[in-house]
Symmetry: C2
Subunit: 140 residues, 2 copies
DNA sequence: CCTAGATGGTTGATGCCTTCAAGTAATTTC
DNA sequence: GAAATTACTTGAAGGCATCAACCATCTAGG
């Protein structure tokens, strides 16, 4: 329980450090890694669990670094879809790679143990079951 | 791995919500719950993994709400020990209680499973082994 | 069609956290 | 006792969180 708090803190610090290595903040890194496919601002706000007005600023800063682009939605002109630029995709790949390489944590467990861990976390926190915002498995 | 990210996020949101219920921010709540016993500012900075200059402001705000008090250290007059006021102790108790009651998560597991989870997390993240900043077990 | 209401996004204000650089006071080291 | 450390504070600049207000657009009801 308390260990969980520490693990959570360690994870966040690690992520923030990796993002900082590329001149990004935690939220900017999180946002980038959500953009495996284009998403409207509103979707980002939901996934980041923050106010929509907040996303405006975050995307502004990402766009200022040319990592992201706003694209008008043809079907609904209110919507702006956020898309990774090529540089943005490169950055995401790098971040993901560093996240993994730095996270030797899970390699200290056997595959069986990893599976157990995953199952237990899933049982304990069913509400974290991945809506559809995952980094993979985009069943359209 | 990705599940870990979600669990971490969920944990933080929960903590922040509980703190907000008492008019506190996440960092203020964290700080309060570290004060099971008096600690110098520097120790708080280390435990919170943030800059010392930061703690000044956090403690200022807690002190302004009369939850915390600065006490001069008799042995080293540079040091200011931060102590919970009575109201601060009440607040900590409430926060801790709400944290537990809201966290039915672990009750979804059997004691055996809880133990396994704890062990696995400990093996995967040995660096989170609890220096001595815990909320209990203060073996002086 | 056309008004009323909901929805997507932006802006502005305020407050808190974060990082950095600089500064004061007290302690340690030589 | 001078020099280097250490504990804490201050100030400036940037980012995130929350809230209220605001346009533009879409959707419903008449």
């Amino acid at each position: 329980m308390e260990r969980l708090a520490r693990v959570a803190a360690a994870y966040y610090r690690h992520f923030a450090a990796v993002a900082a290595g590329r001149g990004l903040t935690l939220m900017q890194g999180k946002t980038l890694s959500l953009l495996v496919r284009p998403r409207p601002m509103r979707a980002l706000a939901d996934l980041l669990a923050c106010d929509a007005s907040n996303v405006t600023g975050i995307v502004d800063r990402l766009a200022a670094q040319d990592l992201v682009r706003r694209e008008a939605d043809p079907a609904d002109r209110r919507i702006k879809n956020i898309v990774l630029t090529e540089q943005g995709e490169r950055t995401v790949r790098h971040i993901r790679a560093e996240l993994m390489s730095g996270l030797t944590a899970l390699e200290r467990l056997t595959p069986d143990e990893r599976d157990t861990l995953h199952t237990l976390l899933g049982r304990a926190f069913p509400e974290t079951a991945a809506p559809q915002g995952g980094t993979l498995s985009g069943g359209s």
